[in-house]
Amino acid sequence: MNSLILRTLAPVITLLMIVFSVFVTLRGHNSPGGGFIGGLLAASGVALYALAFGVAAARRMLRLHPLTIAAIGLIVSALSGMASALYGVPYMTGLWFDIGIDLSTVMSFDIGVYLVVVGAFSSILLTLEETEDE
């Protein structure tokens, strides 16, 4: 889309959206938010960027193929569930480590969700937009 305003603002807004999406994801356990919403937010940011600069630029910005991101997320989530095996507790039991801030497998699971949602939705959006260009 060839709009000067959009082109000027898009990088800023996209950056804000992605930062905000990380924020939303991480605070999700105690306040409204979480991986799914965060992922949708970030995907919207990617969509906006693609709208302003084209799909190729958006792909360059992501560096990885969107589905690679989704796959990494899926692996992260699955491994978070499996970590419980090391402690001899049933699958998917949340493990908590207190090292000043609370770290947990639940959190890494949520990050996995975030990555899957970003990846899958960006992939869908970018592919749709790409074929439209042709």
């Binding site: 919403i37 049933p90 699971f109 899958a120 992939s123």
Partner: protein
């Protein structure tokens, strides 16, 4: 220990890139170390000890990591890790310089991991998971050379046959688990009597047998195994000697204490095993390719093992155990030798080879030793096994005749390879023949010598390997006593008869081969061709079914979907008199009313919009208004999600709608508008009435209370919605994100499919028709 091969697999591509083919020396360690660890347990197990361990994993599904090492598991584990080590070394040399070598060794190691899992896991579900992993990893191995059509066919054939059998096995194992309430193999064995008396025992056994027979290539499922020869030779050697195909035999031996006394077991196994033995041996005679000759003798050997396991008295089991061990050694060696010949002389066709003995003396010696063991010559491991087989079968029944005939044919094949290739006048070979490098020769030489060495120390062999293994199979202590030194008795005479018969076949091998070929040409049809017919029939059937269910017009689908929705909502409400009472008018705040008004305005805008884009955006307005309503009524998470979903769906809809080649505006005849409108109104009415009815029912707060009470304590989180998603119902979420990922993949594939040119995949007669449409 089990995970060492996986670790090796992860580093394999990197190491191979860094060190070239010499990386095999290091990678072999990831199997050799487990081998040493397993070997360290020999003493304990020989003394009758059983090593168990494990931890609970997903108790609700009865899936626990449990392992158990007894004589049977340990022997298998030793064979897999030991021969696996040699195979990794061998493939280091065999695929030297191949661009995919790192990947290949990684596959081999993953495969070894799965096999080790199969033999040491005690839990039924874990056994099944490892079982299927072997199918998948062998699919990758067989199809390694994926640019060749034959390799792809071999791979998917193996996957379909063994994977299909695996599903039967899963059903069988689940049934057995239900019958006994046990989820471990030890539990099954403990509950053996209860299973045998149950009226479903036969059904469960048939399912388990289907799994075992497909895996171990029993007739009529034998055809996939020779086709799996499309894999590079190290794979064939590994698959045949120690692993995959023996998994079925392992399972049968493992379950022998459960089913061994059943009539079905005692008829089906000897019958199918015996037929497989004869068919395998006969088909082997016809082949000229060294690998295929060996492959069919493996089919025959597996038949022999299944037959012995089915006959099942003590002697027969002891014979099976000995034969299994001897077979792993000589077959592993011979396959690797076939690979060496192929690699160094450039051909595997026995009619084009001869007189290589002078150029390849070490290979010749190894081949001769291995063939002696395969042919059952005195002083070799194979001889002991054969003596024990004949001792078990001296009653002179059909099984014995099958065993003699089968063994004679295997004798002929073994010596055909060891003699015809190496003796006689030298033949011009495509490459200048010579012995291979150390990496290539270590495996076959070592295995061949082992076949002689173990027979020279029979007491130790029996004490540490065969007796514990036979005891584990029988579930009672057994003592194997046979030695490799001939002594005059009936079994020895039968052995002599076998050797004479085998020698006769060997002398007239060319004529026998021609006769076998003619006979098979007359028969024509075989399971292998049947498989192709089955696959193309399935594809054709699916195509017709798809064309019936999916005529390919979106408007028809949507109309049908919405009519069904409207009916399923409205019909029960009216039919059962469940219509809601008229709700009282809620007291709305002014801003609440305003947002509802906006939603309605959005809807009206959709209806009167002239262009498609306007309609989509107007739909978005309505969605945002609803999201705000969620927020007002205390569901911030839901509202948040709704905002995002609404935004993205507007974007996606806009992308799709502008892609479709439609007019910008949507003009349709009045009839269409009325018809679609009626469906829309019916749907809307249905949802409204249904929801009104739903909120009339008093709300059950049990779950709400549970979650708000425990979310902070159990899951350390104040946001109940998120806690439910990532903790209480984490497994659900994992499933959901997997679905999301697959959806992304599917959409990508669909869109690529439309833009990419159509490529032909199967030999499908309907394809042209489809292209025309």
């Amino acid at each position: 220990m089990l995970f060492a091969p996986l670790l090796g697999a992860a580093f394999s591509p990197l190491l191979v890139r860094a060190l070239g083919h010499n990386a095999a020396w290091i990678l072999a360690l990831s199997l050799f170390v487990p081998f040493l660890v397993f070997a360290g347990h020999i003493d304990t197990v020989a003394a009758g000890g059983i090593i168990t361990g494990g931890f609970t994993w997903a108790p609700t599904f009865g899936a626990d990591f449990l392992w158990k090492l007894d004589g049977l598991s340990l022997t298998f584990a030793l064979l897999i890790s030991g021969i696996g080590t040699l195979i990794v070394l061998y493939s280091g040399a065999y695929l030297k310089g191949h661009p995919g070598q790192g990947r290949f060794i990684a596959f081999i190691l993953m495969f070894s991991f799965s096999m080790l899992g199969v033999v040491i896991s005690d839990n039924l579900l874990m056994l099944f998971i490892y079982w299927e992993l072997t199918s998948i990893t062998s699919f990758l191995l067989i199809g390694f050379d994926h640019e060749r059509e034959a390799a792809r066919r071999g791979a998917y054939q193996a996957l379909l046959v063994t994977g299909g059998g695996g599903l039967c096995l899963l059903a069988g194992l689940l049934m057995l688990g239900q019958l006994t309430g046990a989820n471990s193999i030890s539990g099954l064995i403990a509950g053996g009597a209860a299973i045998r008396d149950h009226y479903l025992a036969e059904a469960a056994l048939v399912l388990v047998l289907l799994g075992a027979f497909t895996k171990s290539a029993q007739f009529p499922f034998h055809f996939w195994l020779p086709n799996a020869m499309e894999a590079p030779t190290p794979v064939s050697a590994f698959l045949h000697s120690a692993t995959m195909v023996k998994a079925g035999v392992y399972l049968l031996m493992r379950l022998y204490p459960v089913f061994g006394e059943m009539d079905l077991w005692q008829t089906a196994l000897p019958l199918f095993g015996g037929v497989t033995l004869l068919v395998g041996g006969f088909l082997a005679l016809r082949q000229t390719d060294l690998k295929l000759m060996l492959a069919y003798t493996t089919v025959a050997s597996l038949g022999l093992l299944v037959m012995l396991t089915g006959i099942g008295h003590e002697k027969a089991i002891e014979a099976a155990v000995l034969y299994l061990f001897a077979h792993a050694l000589f077959k592993g060696a011979l396959f690797m030798i076939a690979g060496v010949i192929d690699h160094e002389a450039g051909s595997r066709d026995i009619t084009k080879l001869g007189g290589l003995g002078r150029a390849m003396p070490i290979t010749f010696a190894a081949a001769l030793i291995a063939a002696c063991s395969m042919g059952g010559i005195p002083f070799f491991a194979g001889f002991m096994a054969k003596e024990e087989i004949y001792a078990a079968l001296t009653t002179g029944n059909l099984a014995m005749i099958a065993a003699i005939a089968g063994n004679a044919m295997m004798f002929a094949i073994g010596f055909a390879i060891a003699l015809k290739v190496f003796l006689g006048p030298a033949v011009e070979t495509p490459k200048h023949a010579h012995d291979g490098p150390v990496l290539l020769m270590a495996g076959p030489v070592l295995l061949a010598i082992m076949g002689l060495a173990v027979a020279l120390v029979p007491t130790e062999l029996h004490q540490f390997i065969s007796s514990p293994m036979a005891s584990a199979v029988l579930g009672a202590s057994a003592h194997v006593e046979i030695t490799a030194i001939p002594h005059i008795s009936l079994p020895f005479l039968l052995s002599l008869l076998t050797i004479v018969l085998g020698a006769v076949i060997l002398l007239f091998l060319d004529r026998v081969r021609a006769a076998a070929s003619r006979l098979l040409d007359i028969i024509g049809w075989g399971p292998d061709r049947g498989f192709d017919q089955f696959v193309s029939g399935t594809v054709r059937g699916a195509w017709h079914l798809t064309r019936f269910l999916q005529p390919g017009r979106l408007e028809i689908y949507l109309t049908v979907v919405f009519i069904v929705i409207a009916l399923s909502l409205l019909w029960p409400l009216f039919a059962f008199g469940e219509l809601p009472a008229w709700p009282s008018w809620p007291a709305l705040q002014i801003h609440e009313a305003a947002f509802m008004l906006i939603a309605v305005i959005g809807l009206v805008a959709v209806l009167i919009a002239r262009s498609r884009i306007t309609a989509i955006v107007a739909l978005g307005i309505q969605g945002f208004a609803v999201a705000v309503l969620y927020l007002l009524f205390g569901a911030p998470d839901l509202s948040f999600t709704q905002f995002m979903v609404e935004t993205l769906s507007v974007v996606i809809l806009a992308l799709i709608m502008t892609r479709l080649r439609l007019d910008v505006t949507d003009r349709r005849p009045l009839g269409h508008v009325l018809f679609d409108g009626a469906i829309a109104i019916a749907c809307g009415l249905g949802f409204a009435l249904f929801l009104l009815r739903a909120v009339e029912i008093p709300f059950n707060t049990e779950l709400t209370e549970f979650f708000s009470q425990y979310s902070k304590i159990v899951a350390h989180g104040a946001n109940v919605v998120n806690v439910i998603i990532v903790d209480f119902r984490g497994t659900d979420t994992l499933g959901e994100i997997a679905v999301v990922t697959i959806t992304g993949l599917a959409i990508l594939a669909l869109i690529r499919l439309r833009t990419a040119p159509v490529t032909r995949t199967f030999n499908d007669p309907d394809l042209e028709e489809r292209e025309r449409i």
